[in-house]
Symmetry: C2
Subunit: 231 residues, 2 copies
């Protein structure tokens, strides 16, 4: 079975991504970057999601992006709350982490080359694409082009393939696909600004997009069972 | 004065690179990646070189590439010794670190975006180019293309520029340029497999290329004063 390196954050996109990579026949080599996120729940969720997906290996690599700064996710900046969908679809939010997907894909590329794997999976998708430049198809194409010039493996006859099966899917589509493949979304974590024990704030962009996704898919978010309202 | 992010390893290429970036009129933001190299002398040399170049800031970012493996520089693999120039010019050596320059440029890109700087300097050059795929012009072009699609800054009207002033220079040319700009090469460190206090082994590819460079430039290596032969 060929191996693929799958970037896993612990959110619902990456949980779905693991299931899709497995359905494509790959042995799963999961990579999580511990980049100094403001909370640790994301890393814990990544571990749960990887265990449930029965990955061959889960590498959690530390890289302190707080030293680089420039984002509300790695500094003391406030995370925006209760923005309308219209506000979210304009401009690049303060939760943008400079060059994050470039950095993550580079690390995935290095590990994949070391493993002899030529396939990388990243969960960029339509919902994120409006706000983040490094979630667009032209960015992915440029990275794939780069990979084939950057490496020992790619400089031979083999070529790299960056898989983005979520690219054109809405949040609701992603949830429907994942449920069809048996993904347990109660294991995932989405919120940018969680409370105690990882309770979702319900008001940041990420929480709002998740809620709207489950609503549109017509399915209750299993996190509402873990964290019932008003408790 | 515009700022530029300069990747600095502590070797003679990066010491020269700092001097050239300064001569181009940039304020210097030096970035060193502490990636779990087998020895610490490289990081110490980077600190000395940056202090001498009077950089505005020197960020040493930790990223443990030993977890990724695949290279003699980050694992227990033996570093090759006493190879002929002909042997060095064939194939990719075991000292290749998977995707290293892609990872380093990605981190430089993230930090530069956070600082609002659009210029990056990397010391890839003709001597390394034979062996390492990520030291070639087509790799640099592909990275620059990527950068302009990967970032908030690049997705506006501004564009990124990856400077490679050493690209077509031999080791001897690099040394001549640096000396003309007052670079003190006694501060640098080159060896892949140093002895006590950082003494160069004199036999690895890096030591041999350095020796040949000083010889061709007709100048004694100042490290021979720090570490006299037979002491």
């Amino acid at each position: 079975m060929p191996s693929a390196v799958v970037l896993v954050s612990g959110g619902l996109d990456s949980a779905t991504l693991l299931a899709l990579a497995r359905a494509d026949g790959f042995e799963l080599q999961a990579l999580t970057i511990d980049y100094g996120q403001r909370h640790r729940y994301e890393i814990e969720a990544a571990r749960r999601v990887c265990a449930a997906a029965d990955v061959a290996r889960h590498l959690v690599l530390s890289l302190d992006l707080r030293a680089i700064g420039g984002s509300a996710l790695t500094t003391g900046m406030a995370v925006p709350k209760d923005r309308s969908r219209d506000e979210m679809s304009h401009g690049i939010p303060v939760t943008y982490v400079p060059a994050r997907n470039t950095i993550f894909l580079s690390l995935a590329l290095g590990w994949a080359e070391s493993l002899g794997a030529l396939d990388l999976f990243i969960g960029v998708n339509a919902t994120d694409r409006a706000g983040y430049p490094d979630c667009r198809a032209e960015f992915i194409d440029a990275f794939q082009h780069l990979a084939n010039r950057a490496t020992k493996l790619g400089s031979g006859t083999a070529s790299w393939k960056i898989h983005t099966p979520l690219l054109d899917l809405s949040k609701a589509d992603i949830i429907r696909r994942g449920l069809a493949l048996g993904v347990d979304y109660s294991l995932t974590h989405t919120c940018y600004d969680p409370g105690e024990a990882g309770r979702p704030c319900g008001h940041c962009d990420a929480c709002q997009l998740r809620q709207a996704g489950f609503q549109e898919a017509g399915i209750p978010d299993p996190l509402l069972t873990t964290f019932p309202a008003g408790t």
